[in-house]
Symmetry: C2
Subunit: 334 residues, 2 copies
DNA sequence: TTGTACGCGTTATCAA
DNA sequence: TTGATAACGCGTACAA
């Protein structure tokens, strides 16, 4: 079943059929009705390949997701997906390892898939600096700020990671904690990791808190297991911290389990503060205190910006979404 | 840059270039070398759209995922993705609501995307019976058994949900529980929900346990919040259960929180048993007792079967993967 | 308002 | 071993 068949069936030409299918003007109401009826009856669907070959691009959007163990990206993808679903664009989701180069991956997929636009979830500025110029379609970096980079087709939507981490540490310090350990992302491969670390450091400095970059900080991957392992190592170092800040909820959850396995209770012996505000975190016992990112807003804005660029050629934007410190049950005053 | 340009550049014809690109025989070593060199130099990539138009199909695989709140499908998708990544086929992931018709969705996407094969994560037998005959490419239903259906292009990989649920209930009963409440999936929309419910019922019957289908069972959606809400309703009914079986870990986590909010402790006052064996479940405090599905094996087998069908025309298979009852810390003997 | 005819980049057939 | 050329199904300029 092709538009040719449809043309034959209705007595119109292929051009008219095509016009109806694409909602173009200059079609009589009569023709439109007849053709739509035929489409209905035959269950016809446009052939994407032919369409895309003709138009020199696909009609889909691409999302490159960096790291699969981080639930935060999981829920981000879901929100993006559900926003995109409203529009009818297909979304091609591509998962790569936390340590892979997301930009090179996107470059390759662009050539192969010719997407209308790209979302990149999680990013390393060095990768962008080096290779992003090979990408020509609109792109939104989600969860990291790219305003420093000044590519005309690169937007970004992010939380102010530095500030959020600082607030997190501030709150821990205000609760009376002086010995605080930190589990973060790798400062070299993850921008998010670096920024949150800087925020923590700034807070310590400001409050005159003693903090040893090598003994009190561990940069690991965003997963339950890495949070668990890191906490065990921190404990071995015998730094006797009373609070632990994990820069992802998944890490915090691993950390809490590790503390328990070492005979420490949360929050009685150690306060734990996470980052992300996963839906899950409010169902845990104790409810996880966390820096809640506006994940949904991040998704909505990202989609809006990308579609704006794709459909109306709007220029790149860099937005920051708010965060909320949620002190729940896993932290306490000492 | 097209194969035409490449032909011009190397002095060969487009046919020869195409042969080289597709590793076809009947090309001189000299031509092959020259053309590959030109490809290298120009960074040329075949245009998927043209190729697929010509071949009347795309080169991609499709996954339709039913329900986004169920982390179990999330990890299943990730495993499938990482298996597929090894092969080079692109995977188009499509998320639909838990209550949507996955088969009709697949039918539509087949016409549009012309995938080589399809994974469907989560399924309702009625939908398959009614409309699956419209799908012609190989398909694997993951997590539900389709062996009863007898479509020649429909395989399935699943856990024996009925048996697994029965084992789960058996174990609770063996621990001494007599008053057991159950939170499951909707028996009407989800086959998984129905089977697990049947398994539970069988166990109760076998052990002479009093069980009221209407008061002790609630069929809801697979999410934290639904597990939470259902538990609250169960508590309102004052059935005084000492154990709760949730047929998904996400539900169990919501349930535990609800119990806590109602002053009940796990496992001291109520034992909670989940289903799925999410990675997360072993990091919770208390560690969640659960029926662990072999999610990774399910993914690996699904990919293997689908590729076998797609590449070698192998016939449909129906496999069952093992499950393991993990009694950890959220259940206790009474 | 409608239809004809061309071309998008490939693969595959056929003749050379 | 090669190359010319006809499809594949669609959108669209141009003509009617």
């Amino acid at each position: 079943m092709t538009i040719k068949d449809l043309a034959k069936k209705t007595g119109y030409g292929v051009a008219t059929v095509s016009r109806v299918l694409n909602n173009h003007p200059n079609v009589s109401e009569k023709a439109r009705k007849a053709i739509l009826k035929a489409v209905e009856e035959s269950g016809f669907e446009l052939n994407d390949n032919a369409k895309q070959l003709k138009q020199q691009r696909s009609n889909s959007l691409l999302a490159v997701v960096k790291g699969t163990s981080n639930e935060m990206f999981g829920s981000l993808v879901e929100y993006i997906q559900s926003e995109i679903a409203k529009t009818g664009y297909p979304l091609l989701v591509d998962y790569i390892d936390e340590d892979d180069n997301e930009v090179l991956r996107a470059v390759r997929l662009c050539r192969e898939k010719k997407p209308l636009g790209i979302f990149i979830l999680g990013g390393n500025m060095e990768h962008f600096e080096k290779d992003f110029d090979k990408i020509e379609v609109p792109c939104v970096l989600v969860s990291s700020d790219a305003s420093k980079l000044d590519f005309k087709n690169l937007s970004s939507v992010s939380t102010d990671d530095r500030l959020a981490a600082k607030c997190a540490m501030d709150s821990l310090i205000e609760l009376g904690h002086k010995r605080i350990a930190i589990i973060g992302g790798d400062r070299n491969t993850s921008d998010t990791g670096r920024l949150r670390f800087e925020g923590c450091l700034a807070s310590c400095l400001e409050h005159g808190i003693d903090f040893d970059k090598d003994m009190d900080y561990l940069g690991v991957r965003f997963s339950y297991q890495d949070g668990y392992d890191a906490t065990c190592r921190l404990l071995e170092n015998k730094r006797n911290f009373t609070a632990l800040f994990a820069s992802a909820d998944v890490m915090a959850i691993g950390a809490i389990r590790a503390l328990n396995d070492n005979g420490l209770r949360v929050p009685e012996d150690v306060s734990v503060l996470g980052f992300d505000g996963l839906v899950l975190s409010s169902f845990l016992v104790p409810k996880l205190s966390t820096v809640e990112q506006s994940v949904k807003k991040m998704a909505v804005q990202s989609v809006k910006i990308l579609l704006g660029s794709v459909e109306n050629g709007e220029s790149a934007k860099h937005e920051t979404v708010p965060f909320v410190l949620r002190l729940r049950e896993s932290t306490r005053k000492i």
